[in-house]
């Protein structure tokens, strides 16, 4: 140990003596602060246990310490949105397919729906049909 280190450690021994002679009021306030910190730890641990048991996660709070976890949550959300979009596209295509099939399979040719005369005939013919 160098002379410098030895001197520094001697001073630290003096400082240690000083901490042992700390004013009672200050020592009590430090003890109270420590107790509050321990209660805080208990609360944090309890909330993390609840999260683990419930199998759910919340954004913010605990996750703020884990950027990777946040990234995974955001990635999962994006994948979810993407899958929903693709699924909706398939549903729409399927509906269109059904309509097309119905039109093609019908006795009436599809061009009939474009014929204005046919539309007019339908409108005139409807009351008598009732």
């Amino acid at each position: 140990m160098s002379q410098e280190d030895r001197f520094a450690r001697q001073l630290c021994r003096v400082l240690d003596d000083g901490t042992n002679q700390l004013d009672h009021g200050i020592a009590e306030r430090l003890r109270a602060a420590r107790e509050r910190a321990l209660l805080q730890q208990r609360a944090v641990l309890a909330s993390s246990v609840k999260i683990g048991a419930g199998g759910t996660a919340t954004l913010g709070g605990d996750d703020e310490r884990h950027p990777l976890r946040m990234l995974l949550v955001i990635l999962a959300l994006l994948i979810g949105v993407g899958l929903t979009y693709v699924w909706n596209g398939f549903s729409q295509a399927s509906e269109n397919e059904e309509i097309d099939s119905a039109l093609l399979a019908d006795d009436l040719p599809p061009n009939a729906y474009l014929d204005k005369g046919f539309q007019a005939w339908l409108e005139q013919d409807s009351p008598s049909g009732d």
């Binding site: 200050i26 430090l30 509050r36 730890q41």
Partner: protein, 187 residues
């Protein structure tokens, strides 16, 4: 993960030194207590899942940041900051007080009937000399020697290089030796 008893033991061990560290820096008991309390709460709130072995380094980081935040707020409020660099050991100081280190003999006299008074006087002188150090030197000295962190850990807490830590520690030790010698306590 640190258990409740491990955190309790750690905080009980460090709280008084932490208070003194904060007090040396901010020179106000209430502010120092607030800093220590906030640091303890932050450690418990944010780092409860860390192993017990990591607590000293984490706590010192939080504590030193809290002290620096206090400095920043004080500087903003007061518009000035007291510079204490005049108490640094001059580069061209020919006489090195550490060359005639005799503080052990002074401390050994604590065993005599004058112990209490002498100890109190010595403590006051040492604490005053520490308070008068430039903040970075004091921070390095206390982390390295009082908290017992190694040079790499001290550098990590202070956010500087290991070389800077060595320089700060060396300058702090010499400045303390000079200051104590000037007060009649031969270092």
């Amino acid at each position: 993960m640190a258990s409740r008893p491990e955190l309790a033991d750690f905080l009980a061990d460090v709280e008084r030194r932490a208070f003194k560290q904060a007090l040396f820096a901010v020179r106000d008991e209430d502010a120092a207590l607030d800093i220590v309390q906030d640091s303890m709460m932050r450690l418990a709130e944010k780092y409860s899942d860390r192993p017990a072995g990591e607590l000293p380094l984490l706590f010192q980081r939080i504590l030193q940041n809290a002290i620096r935040d206090y400095y920043r707020r004080s500087r903003t409020r007061a518009g000035h900051f007291v510079s204490l660099s005049a108490l640094e050991s001059p580069e061209d100081d020919v006489s090195d007080p550490l060359d005639h280190l005799e503080i052990d003999e002074e401390l050994n006299r604590f065993a005599t009937p004058h112990a209490a008074l002498l100890q109190a006087e010595t403590l006051n002188l040492v604490e005053e000399a520490l308070q008068n150090l430039p903040p970075r030197q004091r921070e390095a000295f206390l982390l390295r020697y009082w908290e017992g962190l190694d040079i790499a850990a001290t550098a990590a807490v202070m956010g500087c290089t290991e070389g800077s830590v060595k320089t700060h520690c060396s300058r702090a030790t010499h400045a303390l030796a000079v200051a104590l010698e000037a007060k009649g306590l031969r270092p």
